[in-house]
Symmetry: C2
Subunit: 414 residues, 2 copies
């Protein structure tokens, strides 16, 4: 099938190390289709669409387009913005005005909801818009896909961190004998769970994995910390930022909310440290990688990067085949060796649904995972990316300075 | 000269990614000297000497010895322990008992003080002990040496982190438009300053570098944050954990002290975040790499690793030449291209002296560094280490499981 009219691609929410691989997949597949239309990039996400802040992606140099494959962050710019009712009508007007017939939206749960509403509105308006969602989240919490692009790279970064800081902890007998690594994951503990990959010997780090799926029993938790401290001499704890207590309340949540009405979390590690120190007298220290875990391209998973590209390319294939209202999914071939294929699912089924770790993959104590989970996650972190190095540091392509956007445009937010 | 009798090497204080390169240098130089004596490693630092917890290093397999070159953490184990008066006499008795004539101590300021006292006691006792200190600290605060092994690798890790998380910050328009990276450095801001290497374009991250050398003027600081936010749209702040206010008090120090009587710092980033948010209304988020910055072997500097090896080897050469009471130093050849040589300095001159960033390397605002500083630090982060990878993760040699120590021995502390 042929692509008729123009297209637009936008990035949404928190970046991942490989989110630009998806943009690259969209552009290169669009160019392959030899469409006469223009492929636009919206700058700074859906806000860029509303503000008609576009850049022509189909005419970028091949160096810039290839550079997307090893540049972290959102190369087009991203935003967190919940659309108002009137915004949807405005979007449709803008799409019509620019003859945009294809809308590719790279994001997580909230973005798939947005994409679905745009799709529904276009349908009811009889405007021939093809809307395809492209999954992206280090949190790995989108349903109907085996896993999410971005997750494998963040998991690889965090597992490497646990290996290295675990060796550090093991080697130094001082007064901090508990390390708490706070990792991202609001309601699903996939990233925290993935650090179990770091454990290559019995009694190796991590020793306790605190998942949002398992409400923390404070007494049981402290007993576990004390037991491990007695038996091993030190305790490595990995905790999801979204840890809850047995009443289901975020354990150490700040009081502010983001624009989606989600509670913004912060300071879990510090609060857990104070809790452990006050109750047991064992000194603890915190490692909070923060945005490092979603931007560490130098430790990205090659598998993940390839799959992020794949879902971008597949989105264009679906759209050119006349499909709409779908999110691309990743499926795992039923073979001994890992092989990943693409599929798709209706946007409406994905929107606002969070996929948590299945209970059967969480092991008895609630603070560890089963070998089934390890089998699931292992292939996703395989393979390394060679980033270009200049004078000892990564030399990423600065797309913003190469015609993608001028600095003034950064003033669209917050 | 020939080595007569046995030797012992110990690691002290916080590990660095390359501290084991120094151990490797000591062992391989010792073996080259074809000494009939044994080279012992003390397990868990000076405590291991006091407890006669030794391991025979000279008889380890060459694979294990070479493995030291790419394994982070303290392979022999380290500790933070301030020796009591009677401990020194006990040390000397133990050295005599085991015919130990060479004591190599890898550490920072405190350790050089310890080494010096052992040297003085042996002198006054007429016991022919050669004591050589081997510099090690990511903080880079030892005097009389151009720089310290460990610093270049931590600097490379942190500068890479600023590049990657800076791109992340730039690309996402959301409600967190200030990022605070809290880095190690109690009284000297070398590591914070080194993140200036990440800035490869005007207005690039980091935008403000807060050094312990420059007491924070809160009003001026807030004005700077607000100005940068207006002009660029976001602000990347790097702050040393040991930041002080204009009275010289640690800005956000916890109240506990470590065994050396130093105030243990923590929570600076969180407090700085609250301060900025309350005073300006601009949302901030914290990245606190913690022990990651001193253990990230996958991002270690090749230059740093080579120099860490060099100082270890040089220590044995000095001792076999009959020298004692010295710390090995690194000196920079007076040439256009960077070349590093070794020198030495009396332990007594180094003990407990902290080298801060010279005032002339701190630029006008107090929140940046000069091009002279950049010229100083640039060569130290050059070159990459290829760590062995297994299933997508670093496969470090686990020395503790290869006969270096049995797990029971981990119970020597805290």
């Amino acid at each position: 099938m042929k692509l008729l009219g123009n297209g637009i691609v936008a990035q949404s929410g928190g970046p991942t190390p490989v989110i630009n691989n998806s943009v690259c997949g969209v552009i290169q597949e669009w160019l392959k289709a030899k469409c006469t239309g223009t492929l636009y990039g919206a700058l700074y996400g859906i806000k860029g669409v509303l503000q008609e802040d576009f850049v022509d992606l189909s005419s970028q140099s091949s160096e810039i387009i290839e550079g997307l494959r090893y540049t972290p962050g959102a190369a087009l710019g991203s935003c967190r913005y919940k659309l108002k009712e009137e915004d949807y009508y405005k979007l449709l007007r803008i799409f019509k005005q620019h003859n945009i017939k294809y809308f590719f939206y790279i994001g997580g749960n909230d973005s798939m909801d947005t994409a679905n509403r745009v799709h529904q509105l276009a349908l009811s308006d009889n405007y021939p818009l093809k809307v395809i969602g492209i999954p992206k989240t280090i949190d790995n919490d989108l349903p109907f896909t085996d896993h999410c692009p971005g997750f494998g790279s963040a998991a690889k970064y965090l597992a490497t961190t646990v290996i290295e800081t675990g060796i550090d902890l093991k080697g130094l007998v001082n007064n901090s004998r508990v390390v708490i690594l706070e990792v991202m994951g609001r309601n699903a503990g996939w990233l925290a769970a993935a650090t179990a990959l770091a454990r290559r010997e019995e009694a190796g780090a991590p020793h306790l994995i605190c998942l949002p799926e398992v409400p923390l029993n404070k007494g049981k938790f402290l007993s576990e910390v004390e037991r491990l401290y007695r038996e091993i001499g030190y305790v490595y704890i990995v905790a999801s930022e979204g840890l809850v207590d047995e009443k289901g309340d975020y354990l150490f949540a700040a009081s502010c909310k983001d624009s989606f009405g989600h509670v913004q979390l912060g300071g879990l590690a510090g609060s857990l440290k104070a809790f452990i120190e006050n109750e047991t007298g064992i000194k603890a220290r915190c490692n909070v990688p923060g945005t490092t875990q979603r931007s560490a391209m130098h430790l990205a998973s090659f598998t993940d990067a390839e799959e992020a590209y794949m879902v971008g390319a597949e989105a264009v294939k679906l759209a050119s085949g006349g499909r709409s209202g779908l999110m691309v999914t990743l499926t795992r071939a039923d073979e001994d060796d890992y092989r990943c294929l693409t599929g798709n699912v209706e946007l409406g089924k994905v929107a606002n649904v969070e996929k948590k770790i299945p209970a059967e993959w969480i092991s008895g104590s609630g603070h560890d995972v089963t070998s089934e989970f390890i089998n699931y996650v292992s292939p996703l972190i395989r393979g390394e990316i060679t980033v270009p190095i200049k004078n000892g540091l990564p030399n990423y392509v600065n797309l913003m300075l190469n015609g993608f956007a001028d600095p003034e445009r950064q003033a669209v937010g917050p």
